[in-house]
Amino acid sequence: MDALTVLLPAIDPVLTHSAAAFVGTVLLIAAIEKLRDPDAFRDAVENYQVLPGAVVPAFARAVPLLELLAGVMLLPVASRQAGAGLALALWLMFTAAIVLNLRRGRDRIDCGCGGSAHTPLGKGLVLRNVALMLATWVAAAPMLGRSTVWLDIVAVGFATLFLLGLHFLANTMLSHQSRLLDLRNSP
């Protein structure tokens, strides 16, 4: 984890706390959605056609638990860097699987991001994941040692809500994107 911190400049605590709370909540929500509908996630993993079939069920069961762990570890300062490392590894893995399938030309399969909306793979999804990885990066950065006041806590709360709203909006628009293309290409 030290290599991670060497590369990072110290950042204002409001930014790191908001980023950590945001990424942590995103991971927790994703994990809960996957745990609620394990069959759908297993089908999605199968559709990616990256893993051999025998590994798929175990992998599909492990991922939500890892997400849950990373999300919980991101929230307290003490375990934040380890949590960020795990989260970063997860995002990298998801993004690699998406890019691999996009290069195969399979951009119609569901991303398996959880939730009821069908979100096909695409460049937008990769961009969203890059943004999440950047946020994880910020969350892992060392904090500037300034004294915090009550207003900082308020700012962290608002900023987290704002980032979550933005993330939700991005997801909605990504799942609309395919419908828009269908409409544009329809005769």
Binding site: D43, E46, N47, D110, H118, L151, V154, A155, F158, L161, F162, G165, L166, F168, L169, T172, M173, S175, H176, R179, L180, D182, L183, S186
Partner: protein
């Protein structure tokens, strides 16, 4: 001065969050619009046997024994549903198909069609609880109907003619095949293009 900045900062945060909520609400409304505008009926790809033409006759072995005859004169409607174990939309439509079959009873024969490796389909058939429906594996069948996208459905009537066909993604689109038959039109697109409808719209 400090206090004024704090107040203005709070107000700005609240304004930003309120705007974000509005944008989210707008994007959800756009989602509903997409749902309503998107191809209303089963989208018909204009290839394969035309609606109104005789359906090609096929005699195919069904998984789990027995033979299925597609085409030719029969006792009622036959719905051929092309699916694949790896297609998520097909899985979503299976309960709809089952309830459709229950509602239509003896007037409708539901035939599931696919191609590929038999063991994979046997497993899918068991897993999805489809043992009561005839299930045929034939690449030729799909090619004769020019099935290019799944799930695809073809409705054949008692006299052995193709009544409606198309790509189906939802319950509404499946139902549209039957209303297309009732209205005597090939597809909902045909209905919308028909001069009578155009006049009503004008």
């Amino acid at each position: 001065m400090n206090e004024a900045l704090i107040v203005s900062n709070m107000l700005l945060w609240l304004a930003v969050l309120a705007l974000l909520v509005v944008v989210i609400a707008l994007s959800r409304q756009i989602g509903i619009l997409y749902e309503r505008i998107a191809p209303m009926g089963a989208l018909m790809m204009d290839s394969g046997p035309k609606v109104g033409e005789e359906a090609p006759v096929f005699q195919l072995p069904s998984l789990g024994g027995g033979t299925v005859t597609l085409g030719g004169t029969g006792s009622g409607n036959t719905l051929v549903f092309f699916l694949s174990p790896t297609c998520p939309v097909c899985k979503k439509l299976l309960p709809v198909l089952k309830s459709l079959k229950r509602a239509e009873g003896n007037r409708l024969t539901l035939v599931l069609a696919s191609d590929g490796e038999q063991p994979e389909h046997e497993a899918f058939r068991r897993r999805a609880d489809l043992a009561v429906y005839p299930y045929v594996l034939s690449a030729e069948l799909g090619m004769r109907y020019h099935v290019s996208k799944l799930p695809y459905a073809v409705l054949i009537d008692a006299s052995g003619r193709v009544r409606a066909k198309g790509l189906v993604n939802s319950r509404e689109q499946l139902d549209s095949l039957f209303s297309a038959q009732d209205l005597g039109v090939a597809s909902v697109q045909d209905y919308l293009d028909a001069p009578k409808f155009a006049k009503e719209q004008a």
